[in-house]
Symmetry: C2
Subunit: 595 residues, 2 copies
């Protein structure tokens, strides 16, 4: 380089040309070094891609944190093409099995995060705050939600206000018959999963307690509201006295046809999507909700059919139940959720929900209508729908049988359709106790008490009671043989027993107290079998079936923590407070001591 | 920079001076960029320091791998002083709690090993092979040693040929009275620790099987060897017939004084240090071994005293026992080990063993001498010394009480002096069974059978039998209340039972079979409670006392693995083979699955 520069400069020049050449040479040299010295512009492009991985979120006993998703650090494919630099490359040989390319600088060796992440199961992402970039290393991806300060049977349920059950992909939809979720977990055709239904109830109940009464916009409450509504052709409207409802209601009469404009109201709601009212239709009429996003106008039709949900172009149909024609029905739908579930159907060619506006409500056929309201939420409607499901669907053994095959471990731990779950029983009780305390309707209390019976029947006899080492009773979320001893499901069943114990009297109180105390005794004896010294186990399959331990992923670990936090408030037991402290530390990479 | 260059060049020049300036400027610019571009010479100094850490090795139930030591990567103190380079510095925030300085390059972030090592408890060291440097990342520091192919009661004991019991710091010395180690563990004054004594026996026995007969140099075997020896002043030597020994022996008579040259032989042994012979001294005589390293000549004196070991300058004194004067004594000492232990005494101002030469053996006083030999090892001598100790020291309950306070967990799990250990009982049995099979002396077999009694006495009653969940018998290494359920000690106790079961007959066979099978049943049921999903637990203190799990450090984990490998050969049990595979994987960072 220097040689060529001087050879150019050795020619005969005048002063001006020499000066020009001097500057030119200088620039050339500058450029030559500069290009060696700076990062390759291509490689210094900081186009970080953090892609949420394909993990199915919230696939755990229907407990689901809305906004959580494990972020995966996406390592560059061509990391080896980075030019050599003044941090030298050095081969890191891992356990004498394979190598990764590291860097070294003085006495320090630097290991690439793409390796660290996979090897140690940790997480990381770039964070840029006002131009300052840093790298956030996280030991876990989950977050602990705290239970209420005081545990009451009419209080929020653990930290369920953070859950959104129906948004989960495995919830097919909320039925328009009973207003409860239908699960596609383990059975794509869909089934009633009592745990999911209870969590739907308890999350809405807890959200209600947290949020208070929703914003409500009355659309048809009194006779004078009728004037605000519009009518298609051949629609008759009048205000009449309903004996059943002991109030003035609006009677409407129009063609049943879905193409008929019917009796309708128009609006432009962008934040309130909960539509509630009471109606009775005696013809083959229907109710429609119209929603619009930036591109498309959709129609949700609620029709007298037994088909759960179906779609056709921009129209989504929910079945109100063939035989409910002529009944007073309480309508309570989250229009945005109903649309979301419709767009998730295979029959729908639309996928994006987009920014929604609720445009209108339409009624068709011959019937009566009362209390039409659009609200920010209809938590208590959903809650009571689910509580009522538990009343309606309890079988003669006091259980809510689950009608799918559940393979906890294929060929080793399987349950045939019709199994009961202690977690479902407990969650059902927690729901029913709250419904009773809220409504004072004793059917809920009686149903809750009935649910205790299954706790006393062993897994082998179709119940949920397992025994650990022939010494400790365990209420099984999945009553497999051999027993699986799932921790979170067991504790949730204890929460149900606790709720009932707090309000029961007489013989049921004795029974539930005994069941609860047996359970707490087992929990105290067995809790630390779930402590891995750097996390927790989901179950004890390793002990009961001799298999590899089933480590709880972080979102289950945080459920264990929330549960222990709640148990610490329920029971004066230092083991719980001591343990939960350690389990929280595990989330930061702290390990229990070694010898 | 460019501005200053052009301003210089704007002056009036002739062609020569312009050319000079051009070259000068070019150099200046070159240098300017070069200095930005290269590594700071100070920081590119590759002076790696790998310092073995201060961990006490082999501090586990007296099981010890000779050449292992956890290497600790020593991070540079001033890592932050490294100048910015073309791998940019980036702050890595760890769990939103603290930060470490990382590097980034394109889409990759590099984390410093000094952080990784502490955070994840892993190991690393630079390795330089013929100028090629790489970094060896290790998940664990320990190594698995394999048991014999066939498990036999007269075979090598597990992988104990890899152990060197007496080299451990907590072995004060090998007594010159009984030839067994004295432990300073938990009691600096020293005590007989049956586990240590048995491991001393079993390691020498296993080494003997592995190494075969030692190299032996006979120094005084027949009358004609006498001529090879030297005599100090007033020493009389003659060959006489010994009725006791039924052989010709050498009778010697000299002054008892240690300053007397006595009857001695001179040599220059640099690889054989095991000195064995039989002698009887009736005066206050002594035996001395002379050793030399590069700097100092040392004397080991074996004298008729009850003082275990003491020293004075370059002289180290071992007590042969006051009352053993006049007995035929079998002398079997590893001179290098005896010197090592002497130099470890507080009274010694010498610390370094250095490269040793065994210079001579001296006898003083009035006595008889036979079979003087220097060998590469005296494994079977040591083995039988220890086996004899178990015969002599068994108490009326069939146990070998341990006379120190053992605080497994201070204030929670403590044992008062006089406790028994199932591991000591089992190891004692393994030793005695081998001694019986080797010698056909039935006293060893009877002693082994006697040792079973303690297995049937509960911890609460001073025995070693614990119960897990009132269902499983467990033989406790440390029979604490609450029970500690130490895994390795339990399995070692089963090994002892197995050895005896293989050779016992009649009622003892029934008894030992029952104890063994009960134990195997418990082990099958409980083994996976020790599986942490990424390592193993040392005990079940977390379950029985509600404390943090006590993770097994890697050298215990490898003991668990060796034990399971052996159990897989003893029992046709897929659980053992399946589990040991996983436990081996844990050593490479593999974890059990999560849900």
């Amino acid at each position: 380089m220097l040689k060529s520069v001087t050879s150019i400069c050795n020619m005969r020049f005048n002063r001006r040309s020499l000066l020009f050449l001097l500057v030119l040479c200088t620039f050339m040299i500058c450029f030559s070094f500069w290009s060696r010295c700076i990062l390759n512009p291509e490689t210094s492009d900081l186009n970080r891609k953090l892609i949420a991985d394909g993990r199915t979120n919230g696939d755990f006993d229907n407990v689901h944190f809305v906004n959580r998703g494990a972020k995966n650090y996406n390592a560059p494919v061509n990391e080896m093409e980075i030019p050599s630099s003044n941090l030298q490359e050095i081969e890191c040989e891992i356990n004498r099995e394979y190598s990764v390319q590291c860097r070294k600088d003085n006495n320090e060796v630097y290991l690439p995060f793409s390796f660290i992440q996979k090897y140690f199961e940790v997480y990381g992402e770039f964070e840029n705050i006002e131009g300052y970039e840093k790298f956030e290393f996280s030991h876990s991806y989950s977050e602990v939600h705290h239970p209420p300060d005081v545990i009451r049977p009419d209080g929020a349920f653990m930290s369920f206000e953070h859950y959104n059950v129906e948004i989960r992909k495995r919830v097919k939809c909320i039925t328009a018959v009973e207003g409860v979720p239908i699960s596609t977990q383990w059975e794509p055709a869909g089934h009633y999963y009592p745990i999911q239904i209870a969590q739907f109830a308890l999350s809405h109940y807890s959200k209600y307690l947290k949020e208070g009464e929703p914003d409500q916009i009355p659309l048809l409450n009194s006779e004078r509201d009728v004037g605000m509504w519009l009518k298609g052709g051949n629609v008759n409207i009048k205000s009449v006295w309903s004996k059943t409802r002991r109030s003035q209601v609006v009677e409407f009469q129009s063609s049943d046809s879905l193409s008929n404009a019917g009796f309708y109201t128009m609006m432009k709601e962008t934040s309130n999507f909960a539509v509630t009212f009471d109606f009775k239709i005696v013809s083959n009429g229907s109710i429609s909700l119209t929603l619009k996003n930036d591109a498309v106008t959709f129609h949700l039709h609620y029709v007298f059919s037994d088909t759960l949900i179906t779609c056709d172009g921009k129209n989504i149909y929910y079945g109100l139940g063939e035989n409910r024609r002529g009944d007073w029905i309480h309508f309570a739908r989250d229009a945005d959720m109903d649309l979301l579930k419709g767009l998730s159907l295979k029959c729908s060619k639309y996928r994006k929900l987009g920014r929604l506006t609720l445009l209108g409500i339409t009624i068709r056929g011959h019937g009566w209508l009362d209390n039409v309201t659009v609200s920010s939420a209809a938590h208590m409607d959903h809650f009571f729908n689910a509580a009522n499901w538990f009343v309606t669907h309890q079988d003669s053994r006091g259980g809510w049988p689950i009608m799918v095959t559940r393979k906890l471990i294929s060929g080793v731990m399987e349950l045939q359709p019709g199994w009961y779950s202690a977690m479902a029983q407990g969650h059902g009780i927690s729901t029913l106790v709250r419904a009773y305390l809220k409504s004072k309707n004793t059917v809920y209390l009686r149903t809750a008490i009935n649910a205790l019976k299954i706790f006393e029947i062993s897994s082998a006899q179709g119940g949920v009671k397992a025994r650990f080492a022939n010494s400790y009773n365990w209420y099984e979320e999945y009553p497999t043989t051999p027993s699986s001893f799932v921790l979170n499901g067991f504790i949730f069943s204890l929460f149900g027993l606790y709720d009932l114990k707090e309000i029961a009297t007489g013989e049921p109180l004795e029974k539930v107290t005994q069941l609860y105390e047996e359970g707490i005794k087992s929990l105290k004896a067995m809790l630390l079998m779930y402590d891995s010294g750097f996390g927790t186990f989901y179950d004890l399959r390793h002990v009961s079936a001799g298999l590899a331990p089933n480590r709880a992923r972080w979102d289950y670990h945080t459920v264990h923590i929330s549960q222990l936090l709640q148990l610490s408030k329920m029971e004066d037991e230092p083991l719980f407070t001591r343990t939960v402290k350690r389990w929280q530390d595990y989330m930061k990479g702290v390990r229990s001591p070694h010898n």
